[in-house]
Symmetry: C2
Subunit: 407 residues, 2 copies
């Protein structure tokens, strides 16, 4: 008898019928003799609707109040799920984040889990219950309700799996797993049977929107195997895990892309110590993440500094950059919001330079110009023009023969 944590997202529990469907899936797991802890998100668009209601009353609602308001969405769905299981003849009980023992810091709207003491969860499992926990929420030491921010319910599920030493955490969503590329762009894209945490993190960060990277990181930290699968079909999903995969395999696993990219260039910057700090500190203060940074070789102590930010941050970044440009005596600054990132992801990239060569050749054969390049241990990323991103993904998928089944 294993203990399994299952998480169902908002689209999987959007109405009474869908809740009953999910209850049948949970029941099937229970019938196999496994103990089940279920984590649910709020139904459909509930969270957005509550935010809209709050804004009608206060355009900038206090975060503490907003967190307590939003926490009701997951309480509704977890009580309904327990009722559905009960109606099917399965013992079930719903628990709020607080009741499940999820203690967080006081950073409302983006709280971090400090401690998880699932005494009550264990007690209810021992009583033979399916335990349905409200995702996305926790409680401070002072008993104030917090929410965990984006990807919060995934994080709740993985954290519970870690604290309960569950055999695995199953994330059920509206995709069937992790693919070698976005199937809407590459029809031959293949679903991966398994993938390492690091590879998944690179794919997630780069726009394969299957799971929030925060939950994957947590899984990696506590070595929780995470299955990503569809809540609407019975197709096998993708298992995210550590261990052998990293050593045995040494090839490209997937192609990621991201169109939320903008480039900012400072032209004619005097090349002296402290310039980088002068540029990037004010951006960090404004909570703007800077990604790729490239500085041209200096000529006559004058250089160009180029970096990328999320496209959604450009309007916030440019006034800051212009201010800095004046201070440091740069000639001009410019932004370009028509760019995209395309990446190959796989373990052992750095030890095998042939991957980079194959990538650059594949792009050049399509006449795609590479503006910037960055690499990590398991990823090579090229910044290219946005209007060529689909061509790039298709060309790379083909060049690395990702449509072929794995050994």
């Amino acid at each position: 008898m294993a203990l399994i944590v299952q998480k169902y997202g908002g689209s999987s529990v959007a109405d009474a019928e869908k809740i009953k469907n999910v209850a049948r899936r949970i029941a099937a797991t229970r019938d196999k003799g496994d103990e089940v802890v279920v984590v649910v998100s709020a139904m459909g668009d509930t969270t957005d609707e509550l935010i809209q209601l709050a804004r009608q009353i206060n355009p900038r609602p206090p975060e503490r109040e907003l967190d307590l308001l939003l926490s009701t969405g997951e309480i509704v769905s977890c009580t309904l799920m327990a009722m559905a299981l009960n109606y099917m003849g399965y013992k079930a009980v719903s628990l709020t984040g607080a009741q499940a023992g999820i203690e967080t810091d006081t950073s409302h709207s983006k709280a971090r889990i400090l401690r998880l003491e699932p005494k009550r969860v264990v007690r209810e499992l021992e009583r033979g219950n399916v335990v349905v926990v409200a995702g996305f929420q926790g409680v401070t030491r002072d008993m104030d309700v917090t929410t965990l921010g984006r990807g919060g319910s995934d994080t709740t599920a993985v954290a519970l799996a870690a604290a309960l030493r569950a055999q695995r955490c199953e994330i059920y969503t509206d995709v069937e797993g992790v693919y070698t590329a976005d199937p809407r762009i590459v029809p031959e894209a293949r679903k991966l049977k398994e993938i390492g945490y690091e590879e998944m993190l690179e794919l997630a960060t780069l726009g394969a929107k299957v799971m929030h990277s925060r939950a994957v990181e947590l899984g990696q930290l506590y070595n929780v195997p995470i299955l990503v699968a569809s809540s609407f079909t019975d197709a096998p999903g993708t298992m995210i895990r550590g261990g052998t995969a990293m050593e045995v395999r040494n090839r490209v696993r997937g192609i990621a892309h991201d169109v939320n990219v903008a480039k900012i260039t400072l032209v004619g910057v005097p090349d002296r110590p402290g310039i980088a700090a002068a540029v990037f500190q004010p951006l960090a203060k404004a909570n703007i993440s800077v990604d790729t940074i490239v500085q041209n070789a200096s000529i006559n102590n004058i250089t160009d500094l180029t970096f990328t930010v999320a496209r959604s941050d450009v309007d916030k970044a440019m006034p800051i950059v212009r201010e800095v440009a004046k201070t440091i005596g740069a000639k001009e600054c410019a932004s370009d919001s028509t760019l995209a990132k395309v990446s190959i992801v796989g373990t052992g990239m750095q030890g095998a330079p042939g991957y980079a060569a194959t990538m650059f050749r594949a792009l050049s054969e399509q006449g795609i110009n590479i503006q910037l390049i960055t690499t990590s241990e398991i990823r090579i990323t090229c910044i290219i023009s946005e209007d060529r991103v689909k061509d790039a993904v298709r060309a790379l998928h083909k060049a690395f023969e990702l449509e072929k089944a794995e050994l």
Copy 2:
């Protein structure tokens, strides 16, 4: 600087605009320099909608789950109220029943408050906050959420006022106070400036649906003055309190009526000890409240037994009564669901027989037949035909000159 507890019902907070209106009323109290604790019900029909949603999934949802589900309704309205106050520049914080320290027994859907330790409420008041508490809910020692049943938010408000030793508890609702009779029936009905707890209890029990009697009883127990007033106008309401009123006044204060009445008669019952128990114990077991009981004088050891129940209980009561009739050898049993109660309420009834005489004469002058009579220390009730109830209320209002201003 006084501490005041204010309660606003569901119709007073039914949408964003109404919540803002109520926030302005709270702010006005705060501006006078008073400390304010606010108790709110769920918005409009939220509770009914949540019950319907639950029943779509499980026609008989477990009460523990239903309580946790329903508790979200009041959490939504209390967070929105805190946001509205915050937007107007007033410090405010919302608290769930659990956070406010309302500990109940484990009787889900009709929990009783065991203990109220409002430490957190006091702390937030000391920080200068308006404290907005979710009504209708509490938490067991095991941290399971409970609801308090009908009149729950009124009970929350009065209990908080008692625990905080507030100067008074103000119940804002969609009526302007307690009237000498239902103004829809008697246009000359007068709003009472004040009324004693006992009188209010008789009026509430008998159908003047201003406040739930449970909250009035709690107010009486802890001697909390309760103001009932409209949340939509600034008209002065009715103050419910103990003290002088009981001794000074000795007259009819109001006419109550109730059409939820049915009469059940057992004809030809052998008059021997144990008969009453045989009839009423099974009814009590089925949770049916029996009101007036009349037993005719026995002739040849055969008697008739008549009693009243709520009309809504007749269908549940009759099969039980028929079964009992067989057992005890009664000739037949019958029910009549076309009856109503009309009562005069006021302190000192029993000491002044003239009231009863006036009442009976007023009814007889209208040709209204009295079927049964019951009295308490502060009430005389006649059971009459339902189709004459409005005439009866008007006649009694006039006979006791209730349209005239009090001294």
